[in-house]
Amino acid sequence: MNMIPHELAIGGVFLPPLLVAFTLGAIAAILTAHLLNRIRLSRYFFYPPLVVLALVIIYTVLLGTFVVRI
């Protein structure tokens, strides 16, 4: 398995994999927060903004490790 960090090329422009993982992670976290808001699960969190921050980090790490491969 090739674990060497690789970049994404879009139209000849190379993007760092961390940027891609972060962007996807942020989108996934926002969608999750939206969903939790809609089904009113947000009320069980002490401070939801911290949860969003945590979700962004978790998704970025997961996507970076298993999908984008930082």
């Binding site: 939206h34 808001n37 009320r43 969190f45 401070y47 939801p48 903004p49 921050l53």
Partner: protein, 722 residues
């Protein structure tokens, strides 16, 4: 073909921009966009406004240059100390920017200092040159735009200023007339709230245009002290009318036309004065001068009123006398300014200046903390994250955005991100696809002219002002014009990523350390409002004739400022509350709550003022325990409301409050009967004014409790992500 004003203004800005770039490039100066920024940011509706803002920008830039050089000299080779000093200065400038005096000066002093210090930090040897270059390019931009604004379709501020004055006088006249008709029982002032909002906006506009007209009109400058007196008097009249209306709202049971027989004549006289003021501001000679008029009370009918009604009527008469006196002063000021009266009115005492450093506004302090935090996060990211996009420039950009948003925490950071990001992408397309085709300044000049014109023409509406400034700033930053022009996709890419990083930092500080979500902010401010009321009510137990310590005086002034400013802040937050997130709460209900708080503020201020007047010792002695019982009840109620926005059992609260007021009324009756013949007229008036103020606070609190009780506060407390 006639060009519209928008097109003319856009052409002026575009021409000034092209000239500023042309001169900077021909002189071989680096960073010509600094001159471009000057042009872009001082382009305003009239030449006076532009010159005033330009002067503030120039002075602010010079101050920033001096401070940044001092920071570099004090902390050479020490980036931590340098950052401590810079963030302290930025914090100070942020606090001052959102105050009342010279906001533009302090804003430029802050963010230009960040730009120069960050730019010079990388190259300390040339720090002096950087600061000087920034100052001279700023000066060049101001000079070029000022000359263009003066020579090409000049728009003098004076006509706009005079029109604003006449409009303000007309609005005040309508408001006074509506309220007097309401007092006479003729109609309900449905339009009063709308007129009041209009009056506040027109007062702000009048103040801004006064500063501008004093810059570009000799006639206004010569009489600017008189104009400022007129402005102060207009503000005092506005506040006096507002307090009077608040009193009227609680006294609808009184038959005013029979209690005040000359009310109609009094109303006609005041209406005539304001009409004459409007005429004078339109350069017409006044048809008549003010005649002596006093709101008389029918003594026979007065004797048959209850003591609280007598108190209310006395308070209303005092307020009418104040309005009469202010309209007379206003008439004399306008008469002298317009040259119809020979004698200059007394400039009078300036309003007391409250020492700002002794009494920091908590919201402005929160803005200071936010800006300093933004700077430090951006700075630490710059140091510890390798090759972060933008580098030190990112710190300067983050600081600038931080300073702008510190005073308007209601505005969502992401609302600014979209125009900034789209502008960067569009500017990137021009930079990559168009600019490489240009080979001389002729082509570049045409491009600068066309793009600047398009931005200033298409985004001319006032509500698009932020988008306009972001678009032009991003355009100038991305195209990065210089005499040795290079084209690299990395420029666009770096700017776009830097923006992303900057906005992430800004967004983080909207949640940490202070939660700036609308619902939470609204509840927090509401709590602060009632804590201030509680303190002030508790402080009423002190003897008013006894000298207060400095600490007590400062605390009292602080809480007075809080109760006068918080309803406006709550009004601003109420506009951004999400309707979806608050089921069961309509915008009208929130407006009613904010209006009730504004009324309560006026009543509290009135009570504190009226309590300062001397009272007959006999009355004070007799009613001491009743007043203390009322005060304890109110202090407890405010204390509870500081924790919960509504009262748990409204009916019980109303019953208790009414019981206390009825008992007090009975005791007043007994005491006044006992004191008959032993108290002077002045003591009697002071006593009734104070009684009216006590009842006013009770009534205003009851109105708030009723309006807050109609809202379901449970969803407000439920945690949500947005």
């Amino acid at each position: 073909m006639t060009l519209s004003t928008t097109a003319k203004e856009a052409i002026k800005t575009a021409l000034a921009m092209t000239l500023a770039y042309g001169i900077t490039l021909s002189l071989g100066w680096e960073n010509p966009y600094w001159a471009g920024f000057s042009v872009a940011f001082i382009s305003l509706a009239t030449s006076g406004q532009s010159i005033y803002k330009g002067a503030m920008r120039m002075l602010g830039t010079m101050m920033a240059g001096a401070v940044s050089l001092a920071i570099i000299a004090l902390a050479p080779q020490n980036r931590w100390l340098s950052m401590v000093l810079l963030s302290a200065w930025m914090g100070f400038c942020t606090y001052m920017t959102w105050g009342e005096k010279h906001p533009f000066f302090w804003a430029y002093s802050g963010y230009v200092c960040a730009v120069v210090t960050m730019a010079a930090g990388l190259d300390p040897v040339n720090a002096f040159n950087t600061a000087v270059l920034r100052s001279q390019e700023t000066g060049l931009g101001i000079l070029v735009y000022s000359l263009v604004a003066i020579l090409l379709w000049p728009i003098n501020s004076r006509p706009a200023f005079e029109a604003a004055g006449a409009k303000l006088a007309s609005t005040q006249q309508q408001l006074l007339k509506t309220s007097l008709e309401w007092m006479a029982g003729q109609r309900n002032p449905e339009t009063a709230q709308q007129l009041r909002t209009q009056e506040i906006q027109e007062q702000n506009q009048f103040g801004q245009l006064l500063a501008a007209a004093a810059t570009d009109s000799y006639e206004i400058r010569e009489l600017q002290n008189q104009w400022r007196l007129y402005q102060r008097q207009v503000g005092q009249l506005s506040e006096a009318m507002e307090r009077w209306r608040e009193n009227l709202a609680g006294e609808q049971s009184l038959d005013m036309p029979s209690l005040m027989p000359n009310l109609s004549g009094f109303a006609d006289e005041l209406d005539s004065r304001l009409t004459q003021i409007g005429c004078m501001l339109a350069n017409q000679e006044p048809g008549q001068h003010p005649s002596a008029v006093d709101p008389e009370i029918d003594e026979a009918r007065f004797r048959h009123l209850s003591h609280f009604q007598k108190a209310a009527l006395t308070a209303i008469r005092v307020q009418l006398r104040r309005i009469e006196s202010l309209t007379r002063s206003l008439f004399h000021s306008a008469c002298y300014i317009k040259g119809f009266c020979p004698a200059a009115p007394e400039l009078g005492d300036k309003p007391p200046v409250i020492k700002e450093f002794g009494l920091p506004d908590p919201d402005r302090m929160a803005g200071v903390v936010r800006v300093m935090l933004i700077m430090w996060i951006a700075w630490l990211a710059n140091i510890y994250i390798d090759s972060i996009p933008g580098g030190a420039d990112g710190v300067a950009v983050a600081s600038t955005f931080g300073l702008v948003i510190a005073g308007m925490p209601q505005v969502s950071v992401w609302l600014m991100f979209l125009p900034a990001f789209i502008s960067t992408l569009l500017a990137g397309l021009i930079y990559i696809l168009v600019m490489p085709q240009l080979s001389s300044f002729l082509g570049l000049g045409v491009l600068l002219f066309v793009v600047t014109f398009a931005i200033y023409y298409l985004l001319a509406a006032p509500r698009l002002n932020v988008a306009k400034l972001l678009a032009i700033s991003m355009f100038m930053t991305v195209i990065s014009v210089s005499n040795h022009q290079v084209y690299s996709f990395m420029v666009v890419y770096t700017v776009a990523l830097m923006l992303l990083v900057v906005f992430i930092v800004l967004a983080v500080t909207a949640y940490f350390p202070l939660d700036l979500r609308p619902r939470q902010s609204f509840l927090r401010l509401l709590g602060r409002y009632f804590r201030s009321c509680e303190y002030l009510m508790d402080a009423l137990s002190q003897d008013p004739q006894k000298r207060e310590t400095r600490v007590v005086r400062l605390r009292k002034t602080f809480h007075m400022q809080e109760i006068s400013s918080l309803p406006t802040k709550l009004g601003a937050w109420s506009k951004v509350l999400s309707k979806k997130a608050l089921p069961g709460t309509s915008p009208e209900q929130i407006t009613t709550v904010v209006t009730a708080l504004q009324g309560l503020s006026y009543r509290m201020q009135q009570l504190i003022e009226d309590r300062g007047h001397p009272q007959a010792p006999f009355l004070v002695q007799e009613l001491r325990s009743d007043v203390a019982a009322w005060r304890t009840k109110m202090t407890d109620a405010f204390g509870c409301l500081a924790g919960e926005p509504s009262v748990a059992n409204q009916n019980r609260f109303h019953t208790e409050l009414t019981g206390i007021m009825d008992h007090m009324n009975m005791r007043i009756e007994e005491t006044v009967d006992k004191a008959a013949g032993h108290i002077s007229d002045q003591d009697g008036e002071n006593f009734y004014r104070l009684m009216s103020a006590y009842r006013g606070v009770s009534d205003a609190l009851a109105v708030y409790v009723a309006s807050a009780g109609a809202i379901d506060w449970a969803p407000w407390r439920e945690e949500r992500f947005y």
